[in-house]
Every structure is written in structure tokens, then in C-alpha cells.
């Protein structure tokens, strides 16, 4: 829109209450809804010549998610989620050096079989131009328990064209690694350590016109307690970590193409020295009323943590980690999702492939972490309402 007059007229027209486009999440649900999703996540095997010791077969994870949502009167609804996750495979324990002095992974010797259960509930209350949500969650696995709670809200102003959002959440976790007893294989492992995380976020979204909406948000998280990985051979991290993210989102809807482009960008940095950038592109293509196809592309790049080392050294003291998640790398994800609606049913199928490597990082990396992961994720979902 180039013309000033047209811009002024359009802005005044969009301020009219009858022009409001109903935003998707601005009302309490009116029907009882349920959903089921199965996700399988398969990490590619560790490359043989990059593996020093242990099993090359990395994690396979299966996730079953069940969701129920129900209205509680006209202005309130509740959602319950149950997730159960089973994983098997080996994980990297450390990074050593091979005969040619190259970094190579030391994998956990035997395959690990683990499971995790997660329960959460979310209660939303709607008012004339605002809503608040309260959530609680509990997650338990063999060696980890987490209890979390959150409060968030949205306030719509400027004839619902502007939405102010904010929220806080708190998580209290306990880490109780296996095989850590005096007579066990790893007596030096910790027994029971706490961890606390607090998150604060604030955002503003603005509907520019019928086709365009933008959002800016900031997210601050502070962790304290035991933040190291108890299963690594050498892993000693600071007992606090502060994270900041700045997020920009653009939503563009083309009525002509009956499609929407969603672009998310995120700038992240933390007190461990990691800077990261993410760009996420999603194209939501509607085909008729019943089918939606969503190709996705995501690029991610991060720098290393201050105390990251490309290999472990048993004589080293002080903060240290060779965890690939703290190493410098870049990653690319491509995926496609298909959603078919039939009356009150909706079926979704999604495929996603993730590749990470040092060469994908924005800045050159001298030594690539050999434990960097590649995985494929497949998911199947079914939702219905009655």
C-alpha cells in the first residue's frame, strides 16, 4: 500500500468492530474434544569411525500423547494431557580421541531402556477482551521428576487488533541418576540433586490488515541447581544459567492462494556464552476445505558454551563439558505435514528430518563434535469432537 490516503482510510476501517477477524484462540471451546498422537523419533546410528567405544545405536523414542479438552461453562475450558514416552538405545557419554588424535564419541556401553510419563492440565478463563490460563504439570521417569506450574494471559486492545501477552512459569525438578550407589557401577555419580527453572515472557502482536499479522516477544529463563549431565564421564557446568530469547513472528495469509506463510525468527543468548539464531518457515496450503499441507523448513545455528571442550580430559579441572548440545554447530530441518478433516474428525501425518553439523554453523568451526545428532521424526495424529 503506497498511497497515504488509502493507508489512512484502511486503518480507520480496520478499527471498526465489525471488521474484527476472530483470532483462533480467543474463545473457550464449545465441544468436548479429544486427540491422540503417536510420534516416533529415530536418531541415526553413531558413525563407526567417529565412535571410540560402546554401542553405535542411538536413541529410538516413541511418544504417545493423549489429550482431552472440555468446556466448563461458556467462558472457561480445561485441557488435560497425558504423555508416555519410551526410549531405547545408547547415548554419548563423552568425547575422547582416537588413534589419529581425532575427536570420537564414547557411547554408553549398553542399550538403555527408559520411559517417561507426563501429565499436565491447563485451565483457561475468558473475559470480554482478555483471557488467563493456569497450567500445572508433573513429569516422572526413572531418574528425573519435574513439577511445574504456569500462569499466562492475553489482553486484546485497540479493537482486538493488538494483543498483549505475558506469563510466568516455574519448574522444580529432581535428578536421581541410576547406578549411582556406593556399590554400583558409577559410585561417583550424584544421588539426588535439585534444579529450579523460572520463565518470564512478554509479547505484543499486531494485526496489520486482513492478510498480515506480526508478533514480537521476549522470553527470559533462569535455571539454578544441578545443570550438569550426570551420565557423562566429565561434565561440570555452572549451577546457574540465564537465557534470553527475542522472537519475531510474521503471519501472512493470501486469500488468493488460500495459503498462509508463517515466518518465525529467534535470537537467543545465555550466560553460558551460547548465541543462537533460528529461522522457521512454514507454508500452510489449504486444498479445498478439507485438506491442509504444510511444508516446513528450519535453520538453526549456535556458538559454543564458554566451558565447552571438543574432547574430555580426565585431568582437567573447573567447568567443562563436551556435550554436543553445547558445541558450535548448525542444523537444518525439513518436513511436511498433511492434515485431512472429515466432519468432526481430523487426521494428520507428519515427517521431519533433522541434520546437524559443524559445517552448517554460521561461523566456521574448527573441530566438529562427533556426537552431533541426525534424526527422523514421524507422527500420526487423530482428533475428534463430540
Amino acid at each position: 500500500m503506497k498511497n497515504k490516503t488509502l493507508m489512512a482510510l484502511t486503518a480507520a476501517a480496520l478499527a471498526l468492530p465489525g471488521m474484527n477477524q476472530k483470532s483462533e484462540a480467543s474463545e473457550a471451546i464449545t465441544d468436548f474434544q479429544w486427540g491422540y498422537q503417536l510420534t516416533t523419533y529415530q536418531e541415526e546410528d553413531s558413525v563407526k569411525n567417529k565412535t571410540l567405544l560402546g554401542d553405535v545405536e542411538r536413541y529410538d523414542i516413541q511418544v504417545h500423547q493423549l489429550q482431552f479438552a472440555s468446556p466448563l461453562g461458556e467462558q472457561r475450558d480445561v485441557t488435560l494431557n497425558v504423555t508416555t514416552e519410551t526410549m531405547s538405545g545408547a547415548s554419548p557419554m563423552g568425547i575422547g580421541r582416537d588413534a589419529n588424535n581425532k575427536s570420537a564419541v564414547i557411547m554408553s556401553g549398553a542399550s538403555i531402556d527408559e520411559s517417561r510419563q507426563d501429565y499436565s492440565a491447563n485451565l483457561r478463563q475468558f473475559f470480554k477482551s482478555s483471557d488467563v490460563a493456569l497450567s500445572v504439570g508433573y513429569s516422572i521417569e526413572d531418574d528425573y521428576q519435574a513439577l511445574s506450574a504456569g500462569l499466562s494471559g492475553n489482553k486484546h486492545v485497540n479493537n482486538d487488533l493488538t494483543t498483549l501477552s505475558g506469563g510466568i512459569s516455574l519448574s522444580s525438578d529432581g535428578i536421581t541418576p541410576v547406578e549411582s550407589g556406593v556399590n554400583d557401577r558409577f559410585p561417583e555419580r550424584i544421588d539426588d540433586e535439585p534444579k529450579v527453572s523460572r520463565t518470564l515472557f512478554a509479547g505484543v502482536s499486531q494485526i496489520i490488515n486482513r492478510s498480515l499479522a506480526v508478533q514480537l516477544a521476549v522470553n527470559v529463563t533462569s535455571h539454578s541447581g544441578f545443570l550438569s549431565d550426570p551420565y557423562k564421564l566429565r561434565d561440570q557446568r555452572p549451577e546457574s544459567r540465564d537465557q534470553w530469547s527475542f522472537i519475531g513472528k510474521i503471519r501472512y495469509f493470501s486469500r488468493k492462494l488460500n495459503a498462509a506463510l508463517k515466518v518465525d525468527a529467534r535470537w537467543y543468548n545465555d550466560s553460558w556464552g551460547i548465541n543462537a539464531q533460528t529461522v522457521d518457515l512454514k507454508w500452510h496450503q489449504n486444498i479445498g476445505q478439507a485438506i491442509k499441507v504444510i511444508p516446513t523448513f528450519r535453520y538453526y545455528s549456535q556458538s559454543q558454551a564458554n566451558f565447552y571442550y571438543s574432547s574430555d580430559d580426565l585431568s582437567r579441572t573447573g567447568f567443562q563439558s563436551s556435550d554436543y548440545r553445547l558445541s558450535p554447530y548448525g542444523a537444518m530441518t525439513v518436513g511436511i505435514k498433511w492434515i485431512t478433516k472429515f466432519k468432526d474428525w481430523s487426521l494428520s501425518l507428519a515427517w521431519e528430518n533433522y541434520q546437524s553439523s559443524a559445517s552448517l554453523a554460521l561461523k566456521p568451526v574448527s573441530v566438529e563434535n562427533p556426537a552431533l545428532v541426525q534424526f527422523t521424526r514421524l507422527s500420526f495424529g487423530l482428533t475428534g469432537k463430540f
Binding site: L9, T10, A15, L16, M19, Q289
Partner: protein, 295 residues
């Protein structure tokens, strides 16, 4: 997919709601709620009925009492204020008082004196508008939403359908049209533009997939004296019609923007064409000699 058609009469003309829905019952229900919205706005902003918001504001003219308007009326007055400023004072919702001397049902012209006597009652700049408070300072002054409320109703009705999940259909309020989306096969709606001298014939058709189309012209209501046409679109400064452009049709995202722009173009007279070109909206315009301009 099933087509649902609802015809009725409102806002001084024939109205039509055409929707495609998964089933007829659901489509009909949505069309009815869109119709309700149109009737609600027709009643709320009627200038004929007593005790409407328009008459209550106008009754207080000349008193020092401020009138507090609701959110919707406030947004409409702000829209009118924007139109006034963007048209250098030509689009003026106080010019309705000229109807006291311009009777388009009778075929005779008012006297220059009668027109001039009304001019002191015209001028949006004289109105105290400080949202949400409005005050008309002179006894006899009037405001009138008639110049854009029908277009707004088309937008609001379309929005109700869109928010109910309708993707294909249109709202047509006597030529003020909001296209919700194309026919289910993807083809656009073919909308005829009236010939200003043969209003039952289309001079051209515009294919529209999305958005709105509104027209303004001297063919809707006029007085014909000595073969000269006097349109109902009156210049608030002179109190007389602008006759240079016979018809202007504009395509915009919102019907209210299309309609107000078409009216402003006509009020600008010859300069209207240049103004339309700068506005960069698709338009189709015919001047009094029948010459066509479009973009």
C-alpha cells in the same frame, strides 16, 4: 458443497447473501446471522426512525450537552473524520441537511438562496468530536451515517461469515459488495458495473475473487432538469452536486474504503481521476460524457 442464497430488502435496496457451505442447514444459519447483522446496523443508524443513535445526537444540536457514543459509533465517526481530512473536507457527514431543499423525488431544483441558507449548518470541522464525545454546536446541524453504513454492513456481514468458517460467497447490499471468497472451483464472481445512463444494463463486468466493490454515481438518485442531471452527491461547500463523473466503481479490501473512495472521487469532480490514479486501487469510472477511465 452447497450454495445458500438469502434475498431480502434492507437499507433502501435489495440485499443478497450467497454462501457455499458443507451443508444447507449450516449455511442458512450463518446467512441468517449475517442478515441479522445487516438489520442491526440498518436500525441502529437509520435516519428515519426515532430514538436511533443518529437522531439522539442530532436532537442535542445547539445545546452544550456532549453525547457519549458507543465503541462502534466512535469508530464510525473516526472513519468519517478520516474521510473528511483525506478528502480536504469534501466527504462531510454533516451535509445531509441539504436534503431539506434537495428533494430527489420531485423534479425541481432548489433556489440558490435556499441552498445558501443551509451552508452555515454544514461543516464537520465545526463539530466537537473528541472520542467518545460528540457535540453539534449549531441548532439544526445534523450528522448522517448513510454515506457509509451500508458499505460497513457489507463488511461486517462478510466478516461474520468468514469467522464462521465460510470461504466462498459474497454479500451484496444493493451494489455494495463484499466478496468472501471465489466459487468453490476457484473462479471469481463476475460483478456487473451499471451503465450510468441505462442502469438496468451492465457497461462492463469485473471478476472478483476476494475483497469488496462499491459504486457511487449520479444514476442512483438524481433530478433531471432541462436535460441536465443533478446527482444526489452534493458538495458540502457549494451545496450543489458535482456532475463531472457519472459513476465510479472501486475495488478495495474493505467495502467501506471502496465506497468512501468512490464518493470522494465524484466530489472531486475532474480532479477525481487524478486522485483515483494516486489512490492505486482498481477502479472503473465513467464521466458525464460517457468516457471511460479505469485502472
Amino acid at each position: 458443497m452447497q450454495q445458500v442464497v438469502l434475498d431480502f430488502s434492507a437499507m433502501g435496496g435489495p440485499c443478497e447473501i450467497r454462501l457455499y457451505a458443507e451443508n444447507k442447514a449450516e449455511g442458512h444459519e450463518i446467512a441468517l446471522s449475517a442478515k441479522q447483522e445487516i438489520l442491526r446496523l440498518a436500525t441502529k443508524y437509520s435516519r428515519y426512525q426515532q430514538d436511533t443513535i443518529t437522531s439522539r445526537i442530532n436532537q442535542l444540536a445547539g445545546t452544550h450537552e456532549k453525547f457519549k457514543v458507543d465503541d462502534e459509533t466512535s469508530a464510525l465517526l473516526t472513519f468519517a473524520d478520516t474521510c473528511f481530512k483525506q478528502s480536504d473536507g469534501l466527504f462531510d457527514i454533516t451535509s445531509g441537511v441539504l436534503r431539506r431543499v434537495w428533494d430527489f423525488k420531485k423534479n425541481h431544483l432548489p433556489t440558490q438562496q435556499a441552498v445558501e441558507d443551509l451552508l452555515p449548518l454544514i461543516g464537520w470541522q465545526k463539530i466537537q468530536w473528541n472520542s467518545p464525545y460528540i457535540q453539534l454546536p449549531v441548532v439544526g446541524m445534523e450528522i448522517d451515517f448513510g454515506g457509509f453504513v451500508k458499505e460497513y454492513a457489507a463488511d461486517a456481514a462478510a466478516n461474520i461469515c468468514i469467522n464462521s468458517g465460510i470461504k466462498h460467497g459474497l454479500i451484496n447490499l444493493a451494489g455494495d459488495i463484499h466478496v468472501i471468497g471465489p466459487h468453490p472451483d476457484g473462479s471469481g464472481w463476475r460483478i456487473g458495473i451499471r451503465h450510468p445512463r441505462q442502469p438496468d444494463q451492465a457497461i462492463t463486468t469485473i471478476e472478483c475473487h476476494h475483497g469488496a466493490l462499491a459504486s457511487s454515481g449520479d444514476y442512483e438518485r438524481f433530478i433531471l432538469v432541462d436535460n441536465k442531471r443533478y446527482s444526489h452527491i452534493l458538495n458540502p461547500r457549494t451545496g450543489w452536486p458535482e456532475n463531472e463523473l457519472a459513476s465510479v466503481s472501486i475495488v478495495a479490501d474493505q467495502c467501506i474504503v471502496a465506497g468512501a473512495s468512490a464518493t470522494i472521487a465524484i466530489l472531486k469532480g475532474k480532479a477525481g481521476i487524478q486522485w483515483l490514479n494516486e489512490l492505486s486501487l482498481k477502479y472503473y469510472c465513467i464521466d458525464w460524457q460517457g468516457k471511460v477511465f479505469n485502472m
